[in-house]
């Protein structure tokens, strides 16, 4: 069954948890025991409606403060699709969680409170979705019940958002507006009886129709070698298989390939998945490949098709999103993990900081703090084999690890 990974973004009290709860409830994905637990706790707290956030705010601190701190993953399915929602907190200080949630998602939902309209937070949410080049963005204008289901209010918010869209860098992003009331259930799964002026799809109808299959199929296959398989058994004495995941395109038996960084040329002999051979390894399949020639290949090397080389370089410029408590400074050294490959990186210069609310850039920045986004130049101790993020989602991104703490301190999108 097709799996659709979705991220949600909204400010505090925009009703994000309620929307997710409504999706679960109306698709009958919430089991009776979980529903009873929500009913019990809602009643205990004296609420006169069901507080669905109780289902998703999994940590004690979250329930105490009534806010979402960390990304939670929620699962539901319809007869045609499995959905995974990365529920990301909307606070200013949690930009890192939004970037994280969006990085694994194919589509996203931005929530707007119909009473408040487009606010500064909305700019941030949209900026991050656009930075991460999420193909499908749904703008759910929520709490329509509190503005008398007014078409005028909806149109005003839509116009404001369209104004914001003019500033985006990634123009091919598809944006869909849906007026909803998560609390009352209007236009989430079931069509609203209060908004006959809205002729579009409900949220779920829209999600069901999204066809994500080929969006990231750039036709540029990259095969970073994860692990070399040498069974050394009597049956497979000379077997040397290179296992990994195929990104950006597909590879087939007979394809002529180049091994990076050695630049050795060979041909794909067999493609294995478990104990069977296949003709083609599709995008995102975890396979094991053998080559016609005896070639020296180890973890971190990459197979690419002849005539389709990535950039091989020891220097790069990237937009980074900084996620660590310790500040990021020019001259600082980090472990740069690009796919499964790790190299050392030195910060050459911070070119400028980018305000994630579309208010422009700041030059002459001496350091970056958590949640900052900036354009940065790096020098590496060894070349890596990369593409631009706009051309290749996986081969154009990396993470930065602080070797003092081993924490994942930031993420970069290569330009």
């Amino acid at each position: 069954m097709e799996v659709l990974k979705l991220a949600t973004a909204g400010s505090v009290d925009d009703g994000k948890s309620t929307l997710i709860g409504r999706l679960l409830y109306d698709t009958k994905s919430m089991t009776d025991d979980k529903l009873e637990a929500i009913e019990r706790t809602s009643k205990q707290k004296g609420y006169d409606y069901l507080d669905f956030s109780l289902a998703t705010d999994g940590l004690v601190a979250e329930r105490e403060q009534g806010i979402t701190i960390d990304v939670a993953h929620i699962y539901f399915s319809t007869p045609s699709k499995s959905y995974i929602i990365a529920d990301t907190p909307g606070h200013v200080e949690y930009t890192r969680n939004m970037v994280t949630g969006a990085s694994t998602s194919q589509a996203s939902i931005i929530l707007i409170d119909a009473r408040k309209g487009v606010i500064e937070q909305t700019h941030r949410h949209f900026f991050i979705n656009n930075l991460l080049r999420i193909k499908d963005v749904i703008v759910a204008i929520n709490k329509m019940d509190l503005v008398d289901f007014s078409e005028e209010t909806y149109n005003k918010i839509k116009a404001d958002f369209e104004e914001l869209m003019k500033k985006r860098e990634y123009q091919d992003q598809t944006i869909t507006f849906i007026p909803v009331s998560a609390l009352k259930g209007d236009n989430v799964v079931n069509r609203s009886e209060h908004m006959s002026w809205y002729k579009g799809q409900t949220l779920l109808e829209h999600l069901e129709e999204l066809d994500q299959k080929d969006i990231y199929n750039t036709g540029t296959p990259r095969f970073p070698v994860q692990y070399v398989i040498r069974p050394k058994t009597d049956d497979f004495h000379d077997f040397r298989g290179f296992s990994g995941k195929v990104y950006g395109g597909e590879l087939s038996v007979g394809d002529e390939v180049i091994v990076l960084p050695s630049m050795t040329r060979s041909t794909i002999k067999d493609i294995y998945f478990y104990d069977k051979k296949y003709q083609t390894a599709p995008r995102r399949s975890s396979v094991t490949i053998t080559l016609e020639d005896e070639v020296n290949v180890s973890r971190g090397d990459m197979l690419v098709k002849v005539g389709d080389l990535p950039t091989v370089d020891k220097q790069l410029t990237a937009t980074i999103s900084w996620m660590d408590g310790a500040s990021f400074i020019p001259g600082g050294k980090y472990v740069l993990q690009h796919g499964v490959n790790k190299v050392l990186a030195k910060v050459d210069a911070i070119e400028h900081k980018i305000n994630p609310d579309y208010s422009g850039i700041e030059e002459n920045v001496s350091a970056l703090q958590m949640n900052d986004i900036a354009k940065v130049r790096f020098r590496l101790n060894k070349p890596i084999f990369y593409d631009k993020f706009k051309n290749h989602r996986t081969n154009g991104s990396f993470i930065l690890i602080d070797s003092r703490t081993n924490n994942t301190a930031g993420v970069g999108f290569i330009e």
């Binding site: 089991t31 025991d33 979980k34 289902a55 998703t56 705010d57 940590l59 004690v60 601190a61 701190i69 960390d70 939670a72 993953h73 929620i74 699962y75 399915s77 499995s82 890192r96 970037v99 994280t100 990085s103 694994t104 994860q226 692990y227 398989i229 040498r230 069974p231 050394k232 058994t233 049956d235 497979f236 077997f239 296992s243 995941k245 998945f273 478990y274 104990d275 069977k276 051979k277 296949y278 083609t280 599709p282 995102r284 399949s285 975890s286 396979v287 094991t288 472990v335 796919g339 499964v340 989602r393 996986t394 991104s397 993470i399 690890i401 070797s403 081993n406 924490n407 994942t408 993420v411």
Partner: protein, 315 residues
């Protein structure tokens, strides 16, 4: 040992379809398991004999074929297992030709490291943590692969795929490493270890559908069978072993039941069911209105039961 002709014959039958399975979750899990083998020196797969860990074993086989799984399996034995699970475990390990390590909660009790719970709800589920942490230290394991899923419970929903634990095995839930794209950061200090959850994104139905499709053998208690049981708090408890405490006024009766999870017997209740084949089980799960952990008394102790256990090092 195979002869050459046998080998050639074998490789002829090996040719599959044009493309391998389109199950994205399966490819994701295999990728994660390979990252563990590549990034860590001493990984181990935590094996309980339950369906999730059996699924993990199949995924690990797929990840490294034609080589053997390059790490041992470890069972933290509460001593309160369903006998069917242990028989199954031993058979599987023999077929795979991998090493099995067993560490017993009973030993931790005998050594005075933990105290057995008493009373109506006594369980050894909590006690497993101590035995697990001791075994990690004993073998210096730096990565423990487990079959936990995010859909099981809301604290689990916050768990990373590579989840770092400190020297005391503790989970710092408010300070977790962000996980971006497919990149898994397995860098740790000496003494720390990582819990790895390759099937994080699978649901209960995904696991059952996979078992069905792959035709994976599982212990018989997952299928409907006649069992002597008694009822307590609306849950069905096995009355066939001494392990589950039963008060004198709790009447034993025979019913058709099966187990949806196979944990420690003392905290795992059965469900009434006539699903005696894998197809019927999948159909039953698809229509179920009760979550899998609805029959686990360990989660009912409080709203934060799982989070608390995890902070202390529970798997």
């Amino acid at each position: 040992m195979s002869t050459l002709t046998e080998l050639i014959k074998k490789s002829d039958t090996l040719i599959g379809d044009e493309r391998p399975s389109a199950n994205a979750l399966e490819h994701e899990a295999i990728y994660i398991i390979r990252e563990v083998a590549a990034q860590f020196e001493k990984p181990v797969l935590l094996f309980s004999g339950g369906k999730d860990s059996i699924t993990l074993v199949r995924l690990a086989q797929k990840a490294f074929w034609p080589a053997k799984i390059p790490f041992p399996l470890m069972h933290i034995d509460t001593g309160h297992n369903f006998p069917e699970t242990i028989e199954f475990r031993d058979k599987l390990v023999e077929e795979l030709g991998v090493e099995l390590i067993v560490r017993n909660v009973q030993d931790s009790i005998d050594e005075g490291k933990v105290v057995e719970e008493t009373g109506k709800y006594a369980s050894r589920n909590m006690l497993q943590t101590t035995t697990l942490l001791d075994a990690i230290e004993e073998f210096k394991f730096d990565a423990c692969i487990g079959g936990a899923r995010r859909d099981e419970e809301k604290a689990r929903a916050k768990e990373r795929i590579f989840s770092v634990r400190d020297d005391f095995g503790q989970w710092d839930e408010k300070n977790q490493r962000p996980e971006l794209f497919d990149m898994l950061n397995g860098e740790i200090e000496i003494g720390q270890n990582v819990r790895v959850f390759p099937i994080s994104n699978w649901t209960e139905l995904d696991v059952w559908s996979y078992i069905q499709k792959e035709n994976i053998e599982i212990p018989s208690i997952y299928f409907a069978h006649k069992r002597n049981i008694f009822l307590r708090d609306g849950l069905i408890w096995s009355a066939e072993d001494e392990v589950v405490f039963r008060a004198e006024d709790e009447q034993v009766e025979e019913r058709m039941v099966r187990f949806r999870t196979v944990g420690d017997m003392s905290c795992t209740a059965a469900v009434e069911s006539y699903a005696d084949t894998i197809d019927k089980v999948v159909a039953e799960i698809r229509d179920s209105r009760i979550s899998e952990r609805g029959a686990r008394i360990d989660d009912k102790r409080s709203e934060a039961a799982m989070e608390k256990r995890k902070q202390q090092g529970y798997f």
